[in-house]
Symmetry: C2
Subunit: 411 residues, 2 copies
């Protein structure tokens, strides 16, 4: 008998009809002989509605009470799903975070799971009960409700699967799985059958928003096999799992892009110890996350420093950087909001040379200028003018052999 | 320093604006030097919306899950009210049933409070925190959420006030207090300044729906003084408390009516032991509550038995009664759905004679025929044709000196 954890997101439980559909899917897994634990998000739109109420009440909602408020969304969906299953003749029982319990730290609205006690759920599973767990929520050591941040139900599901040593954690969503790139840009994008945790982390953080990144970190840490699949059909989706030999035969697994960053360059900085700290310390204090950082080689004792920040933080970051730049004697600060980051990701890169240069050449042939480059073991990212984003993704997808030949690409 | 428990119903917290208004009212009580515990209902319409979802999912929602579902409504309002208070600079903290905890029995959707542990709230009050408690909910011994039934927040408030020995339990609602009768029928109806628990129980159960009847029973048992008042103005409302000498000087405190019953008569029943059990046993098994029961004196070994049932149960009750009547050899069954029950209530009745006959005479003068009569120590009820309801209430209100002379009655 296998233990299956299934997670259904907000769009999968977005209406009473969809909840009944989920109930049938859960029941089928149970009928196949599995023990089933289901993790559910709030019905689509509900969390936004609750956040809207909070913002109407006051400008900066208290964080403890914010969590009490938004955690009510999952309470509704677990109750409705349990009712649906019971009305179909199955034993089912809903669990709120405190009823399991799922213990977290006390960082409200972005809490991290510390411990899951599975005795209650385990006992119910042994009695043949389907256990329906509220995603996104837990309690801290003092019994306050704490939520895990948007998308946190993915992490709840993986954490429950890890704690209970589940055979698989199925994440149901509104797409068929993880794609080689955004199908809205490349219609020949194909579904990836299996992908390693590290590749998934690079793809997720780079903009392929199928799974909350923290859930993938969690899965990697505890070796939980994730199956990302659609709640609207029976197709097999994408397995996210430990790297295996097969995966290395693929040079590039996927192409991602990110248009949510802006570039800031500090020109002719005196090259001496402490300049990086002087520049990035104040940004960090302002809670601005810096992504790519490139420092060129020094000429005549001066160097140029270029980095990217989230585009939403750009206006806040610029005056901070200008002040720091003046202090360290830099010549000037340049910036550009119209950039995009395009990345190729694949564990196969580690054992093959020439991948990066193939990427550069492919872009060059199309006249796309590369403004910044950063690399990791399994990723190469280029910052380009954002008007070339779709073109760059398309040519790279084709160049690395990812186009699904069965799909006629109309572009 | 007084300890004040305030309860706000769904209409009082029906919008963000109204929640802010409640926050100002709570803050004022705190600023006056009180320790304040606030019990809140779900925002108006929310519980109905949740019940609607449950009924869409299945015909007979599971009762455990029903409670998980509907308890989420109060979770939203306590969080919003706490946020509002904190944004005004007050210390405030929300409490769900399980966080206090409020222990109930396991009768889902109609649970009874068994114990309230007040250590957590008490400690917060001592620190100057305003405690915001979710009404309507508690947990059973196994940690399942249990709700108290519609209107249960009144009972939550009185139970918290009793457990904490509060100085007063203020029930805020959308009317100014308890009136001598329904102001929609008699515009000269006046607000009652103070009323005994027993009178309030008679008035509440007879149709004056200001307070949940169970909350009044609770208040009586523990001697909690209830102040029913409006959340939209600062008028003093009605005090519901132990009977005092003043109250006896008023012959009749209020006139109530109830159009929600139907009458069933079993004619010429052989008068022998066991016939009442034979008639009412099957009704009780079908969960039909019988209200008034009148058995006339026996003639020739036969008697007539008349009783009332809720009008919503009438169609279900009639065939059951007909079957029982046949078994015990009654001649026939008659019924009437067009009845109303009009009652006069007052502790003054106990020490004054002639109150009942004055009621009968007043009705007779207007040509209103009395079909059934029942009396208690502090109440006389008459069943009449329901088309005379308004007329009867009006003339009784005037006859017992309840008309507010300052109001010009247009009728």
């Amino acid at each position: 008998m296998a233990l299956v954890v299934q997670k259904y997101g907000g769009t999968s439980v977005g209406s009473v009809e969809k909840i009944k559909n989920v109930a049938r899917r859960v029941a089928r897994s149970y009928d196949e002989g599995n023990q089933v634990v289901v993790v559910v998000s709030a019905m689509a739109g509900e969390t936004d509605k609750l956040v809207g109420l909070a913002n109407e009440v006051c400008d900066i909602p208290d964080d403890r009470e914010y969590d009490v408020l938004v955690a009510s969304g999952e309470q509704v969906s677990i109750a409705l799903l349990s009712m649906a299953l019971k009305s179909m003749g199955y034993q089912a029982k809903s669990y709120l975070g405190w009823q399991i319990p799922i213990y977290t730290d006390d960082a409200h609205a972005k809490a991290r799971i510390k411990e899951i006690r599975d005795e209650n759920i385990r006992a119910d599973l042994e009695k043949g009960t389907i256990c329906i767990v509220a995603g996104f929520q837990g309690i801290d050591a003092d019994g306050n409700i704490a939520t895990l941040g948007r998308g946190g139900s993915d992490t709840s599901a993986v954490a429950v699967a890890a704690a209970m040593k589940a055979d698989v954690c199925e994440i149901y969503t509104d797409v068929d799985g993880v794609y080689t790139t955004d199908p809205r840009i490349v219609s020949a994008a194909s579904k990836i059958e299996k992908i390693s945790y590290d590749e998934m982390l690079e793809l997720a953080s780079l903009g392929a928003k199928v799974l909350q990144i923290r859930s993938v970190e969690f899965a990697k840490k505890y070796g939980v096999v994730i199956h990302v699949r659609s709640s609207f059909n029976d197709n097999l989706g994408t397995l996210v799992k430990e790297e295996d030999a097969d995966m290395e035969t693929v040079l590039v697994s996927g192409i991602s892009y990110n248009k949510n960053e802006a570039k800031i360059s500090v020109i002719r900085v005196p090259d001496k110890p402490g300049i990086a700290a002087a520049l990035f310390g104040p940004l960090s204090e302002a809670n601005i996350t810096v992504d790519m950082i490139i420092q060129n080689v020094s000429h005549d004792g001066f160097t140029d420093l270029t980095f990217t920040v989230p585009r939403t933080d750009f206006k806040k970051a610029l005056p901070i950087v200008e002040e720091s730049a003046a202090k360290i004697g830099a010549e000037k600060v340049q910036s550009d909001e119209s950039i995009a980051k395009v990345s190729i990701v694949g564990v196969g890169m580690r054992s093959h040379s020439g991948i990066a240069s193939k990427m550069f050449e492919t872009l060059s042939v199309e006249g796309v200028n590369i403004e910044m480059i950063s690399t990791s073991e399994i990723k190469v990212s280029c910052v380009i003018d954002d008007k070339y984003t779709e073109l760059a993704v398309r040519v790279l997808h084709k160049a690395f052999g990812l186009d699904d030949e069965s799909v006629k690409d109309e572009e």
